[in-house]
């Protein structure tokens, strides 16, 4: 085992001039530094996207509010959605994958370190392009500003007649550029997992996190390509007079929907499968049991990956498809529920008979499980095409996908943050603050998103900047907005905790959780080369084997 890493002198490191250290970060090709860059970059955008959401919620707190103009409101929901999906959720997942994968499979870096750096800087540049629209979106026409076409930018709103100025171009270019970065990262992740595993680590013995990120990478490769193609076609429409989506010249608005959702639906799994990965690593450690049904978990993940490419048109139940098409997309969508259900049962199976310890990472995992269960069930409701004719594009849908993205994915992400923070920083976070964060965020989340289902059932469509009183929506919107402030307080504690603990937190050992995967065998933070000697493993829990030589896993697996 390689617990004996060659220690660098930390004092030496911190005496180097700040300029040198900054230069290191900008030119780095080290997977750990890039991982952290991805994560920090995403956190900045998380705060920006959160502010945009707060602006919308303040506008909707009472009927006929005049906090922002309709134009600004429309820009806010477009930027909020685009930012959260493309510049928060994806990069943060890539960040964790970058940081953890080589460590967990016993490798010294990603397969293509330079590609890795290139992908990160492309993603970063994409985000800047998108936000530059606030300044440059006006173009020569003096109209525009930030894009206001919605995050799925349905045609023909993006056509030149309906979207003058350059705002839509910044949206297109931002996603195009960051999309190329995503494809680079996905190729890198796949190559790393497939080619760089340490001796003894067969596919069947690698951590579930590696498996799930492999599936995620495959999904990114397949899903981002149609989006990229669509963005190019849109640009051709706008600048070279092509007529793919330009309905005024005979183009098709529906084709854009197909292109977008064949990307958009798998995208949900691109985000949620890494969240599954976190839960699958953290729940076992805090239950003190190996994951229940490892091969089934792998199979279920791969199955979700495949099925997720057959369900896209459930976002289009209201566009007037034939009854056969609607039925097909109903059943294919419902089928996703089966492997997903299996996963939930396996996580519960893992806790069953264990000794559960409620540390902050575990609390967030439990929140994840509970909320993912509800999100899955409202998902089944939306899969029922006729029910979707009522619920589609209403606040019910907004509540549903925020249950997935915040309730499940963000909760799992917070778990991951607290769980791996000691590894990344070498210091322990503050447990008390962590618990406060959990409870505040949990209360805020449920205030906001539980009650958000109700106006949907009462006929409130999404993306409206105001509404009239007397429709029975007022009280629910008030509660929803109040919840936002609790969530913001939680996030504030989270950021404070990270910053404070990074500087003042107690120094921790290489293995504070008594865990079982390889990243805990090297020092915290790991040296640049990760492992002094490449480890050799015999089971899925190599550190268990070392800690329990009398009862090693490889005898049973």
């Amino acid at each position: 085992m390689s617990s004996d890493s060659i220690a660098l002198n930390p004092a030496l490191e911190s005496t180097r001039p700040i300029g040198d250290r900054l230069h290191d970060w900008v030119t780095t090709v080290d997977h750990k530094k890039l991982g952290i860059l991805y994560i920090l970059y995403a956190l900045v955008f998380l705060v920006i996207g959160g502010i945009e959401a707060t602006i919308m919620r303040i506008q909707l707190i009472v009927p006929h509010n005049h906090f922002v103009s309709p134009q600004v409101f429309n820009e806010m929901f477009t930027m909020h959605g685009t930012t959260m999906i493309f510049f928060v959720a994806m990069p943060i997942m890539f960040g964790f994958a970058n940081y953890l994968l080589p460590l967990m499979i016993g490798a010294r870096d990603m397969a293509f370190p330079r590609l890795n750096a290139w992908s990160f800087w492309l993603a970063a540049f994409g985000g800047l392009l998108l936000y530059f629209s606030f300044i440059g979106g006006n173009g020569l026409y003096g109209a525009g500003g930030a894009p206001d076409v919605g995050w799925f930018a349905y045609a023909p709103l993006t056509a030149r007649v309906f979207s003058i100025g350059h705002s839509t171009d910044f949206w297109t270019l931002g996603l195009l550029v960051s999309g190329i970065g995503s494809i680079g990262t996905a190729a890198n992740i796949a190559a790393t997992v497939l080619c760089l595993r340490c001796p003894g680590m067969t596919l069947g013995k690698m951590p579930l996190l590696a498996w799930m990120n492999l599936v995620m990478a495959a999904l990114v490769l397949l899903a981002i390509s149609p989006l990229t193609a669509a963005q190019i076609m849109l640009s051709l429409d706008r600048y070279l007079g092509a007529h793919f989506f330009d309905t005024q010249a005979g183009g098709s608005a529906v084709i854009w929907m197909h292109f977008f959702w064949i990307f958009g639906h798998p995208e949900v799994y691109v985000l949620v499968i890494p969240a599954f990965a976190f839960a699958s690593e953290i729940i076992p450690v805090f239950s003190r049991k190996p994951i229940f049904g490892y091969p089934v978990m792998v199979a279920a993940t791969v199955a979700i990956g495949f099925v997720s490419f057959t369900v896209w048109a459930h976002h289009m139940f209201t566009v007037g498809m034939s009854s056969y098409a609607n039925s097909f997309f109903t059943i294919s969508t419902m089928i996703v529920g089966v492997p997903t259900g299996i996963k939930i049962f396996n996580w519960i199976g893992t806790m069953w008979g264990g000794k559960i310890e409620f540390k902050t990472p575990m609390l967030f995992c439990i929140g994840f499980l509970f909320q993912f269960l509800i999100a899955g069930l409202t998902g089944i409701m939306l899969a029922v095409a006729p029910f979707d004719w009522q619920l589609g594009n209403s606040y019910f849908v907004v509540a549903h996908f925020h249950y997935v993205i915040v309730g499940a994915i963000l909760f799992a992400l917070f778990a991951a943050f607290y769980y791996w923070f000691p590894k990344m920083s070498g210091r322990m976070y503050n447990e008390r603050l962590g618990k406060w964060h959990f409870w505040l965020f949990l209360i805020g989340f449920h205030l906001t998103f539980d009650f958000m289902h109700i106006p949907g059932l009462l006929g409130m469509p999404r993306r409206i900047y105001t509404y009239e009183p007397g429709r029975g929506w007022d009280i629910w919107n008030l509660i929803i907005t109040v919840g936002v402030f609790f969530q913001a307080a939680g996030i504030l504690l989270f950021v404070c905790n990270l910053l404070w603990s990074r500087i003042k937190g107690p120094v921790c050992t290489s293995d504070p959780w008594d865990a079982w995967t390889l990243e805990w065998s090297t020092s915290s933070p790991p040296p640049e080369y990760n492992f002094a000697a490449i480890p050799v493993v015999r089971s899925r829990r190599p550190l268990w084997d070392i800690k329990h030589p009398e009862d090693p896993d490889w005898k049973y697996e």
């Binding site: 009927p63 006929h64 309906f162 098709s252 209201t318 310890e357 009239e468």
Partner: protein
């Protein structure tokens, strides 16, 4: 000393927070008269066959979802309580369990069965709503979505109107459903009256359709449910379900050309010599613009600007003076009329019954 400063700071922040919240609550400004009698838009109070069918399947799905939730939630809570590490824990690792094929098989097969049942129930509803045969007595309407208003045409009787759809009530014994052909003049929109039917999109270059057969007379409200641009929020929709006699009377009136008296000649002249007629039609006069709502029987409508304001003298005048004041971002420009012209045009429009 330090402590008091601390307290002052906390109080200051709390105060600021309270004041800003109060300010936000007061920030509501004028609202242009709540349109008469908006019925609730609850999807669980259906009043037409398609909405009914959705209601039944949704209750079925909700019950199944509730059962699944109850079972899994109990399992989750039970395992959290039962298997938490106690305070007097001996520190030994629990016995590792790697999995069980029987259990996995059970929780694979059971969900598959549930999915099958749900799917069959759903497919039946999809078929019965989407593939319903059109009875000969059906009323045919064409709905055209515009940024940010609705145009309605009754091709068989030659009516063109806007924003307020009139349909006859449908007696189950002699059904007179309304079949609505959905088109768009510009961007995507979606036709949604929650109590009458689920939504169907209006998409340029594409013709969709839907049907309703309202069981009770009354006014049903809804609104555009597909983001269509700046004023998507105020693209409201009203369906008036009339008795057979009321509907026939309404249709007869509506099919007439405008009856313009001589008392409003000045207003008529202003209307017909400014750009109004490029965008608006008043049948029987030179005004034949099609960009905005048909105004032939403007005064037969309860609301203007797609439900954004009720159709009163003040609102009408304000609208013509400055549409931005009522519906910022609407595609009708402020025409910069003098007060005198404004009064005259308003008076003219008020004769269009």
């Amino acid at each position: 000393m330090r402590r008091t400063r601390h307290r002052a700071l906390v109080q200051g922040i709390a105060g600021l927070f309270a004041v800003s919240l109060a300010f936000l609550l007061l920030a509501t400004s004028q609202c242009f008269g709540a349109p008469a009698n908006p019925s609730p838009t609850n999807i669980f109070r259906p009043s037409s066959t398609p909405a009914d069918e959705v209601f039944h399947i949704s209750i079925f799905v909700l019950i199944i979802a509730a059962l699944i939730f109850a079972v899994v939630f109990c399992l989750l809570v039970y395992s959290l309580v039962k298997f938490r590490r106690g305070p007097d824990d001996d520190g030994r690792e629990p016995p590792p369990v790697y999995g069980s094929n029987q259990v996995e098989l059970a929780w694979t097969v059971l969900p598959i069965l549930i999915v099958l049942v749900l799917f069959l129930a759903t497919a039946r509803v999809i078929h019965s709503v989407e593939d319903a045969a059109k009875p000969p007595a059906a009323v045919a309407v064409i709905a055209i979505g515009h940024q940010f208003w609705w145009e309605f045409r009754y091709p068989s009787v030659g009516i063109v109107t806007a924003n307020e759809l009139h349909v006859p009530v449908s007696d189950p014994a002699h059904p007179t459903p309304t079949y609505i052909e959905l088109r768009s003049a510009d961007t995507d929109h979606s036709f949604w009256i929650p109590r009458l039917a689920g939504k169907t999109d209006l998409i340029p270059n594409r013709t969709n359709s839907m049907w309703i057969d309202p069981h009770e007379v009354g006014i049903y409200v809804g609104q555009c449910a597909q983001y269509c641009g700046t004023q998507h929020a105020k693209m409201l929709l009203r369906v008036y379900v009339d008795t057979k006699e009321q509907f026939d009377r309404w249709a007869r009136e509506e099919a007439q050309p405008a009856r313009v008296g001589d008392t409003v000649n000045q207003g008529r002249r202003v209307f017909e010599t400014t750009a109004c007629i490029n965008c608006h039609a008043v049948s029987g006069t030179v005004a034949d613009g099609r960009f905005g709502p048909d105004l032939t029987h403007l005064m037969s409508r309860d609301t203007i600007a797609s439900g954004a304001a009720s159709n009163t003298h003040e609102n009408l005048r304000l609208w013509i003076h400055d549409p931005e004041a009522i519906k910022p971002g609407s595609l009708m420009p402020a025409m910069q009329l003098s007060d005198q012209d404004l009064d005259a045009v308003t008076a003219y429009l008020e004769t269009l019954r």
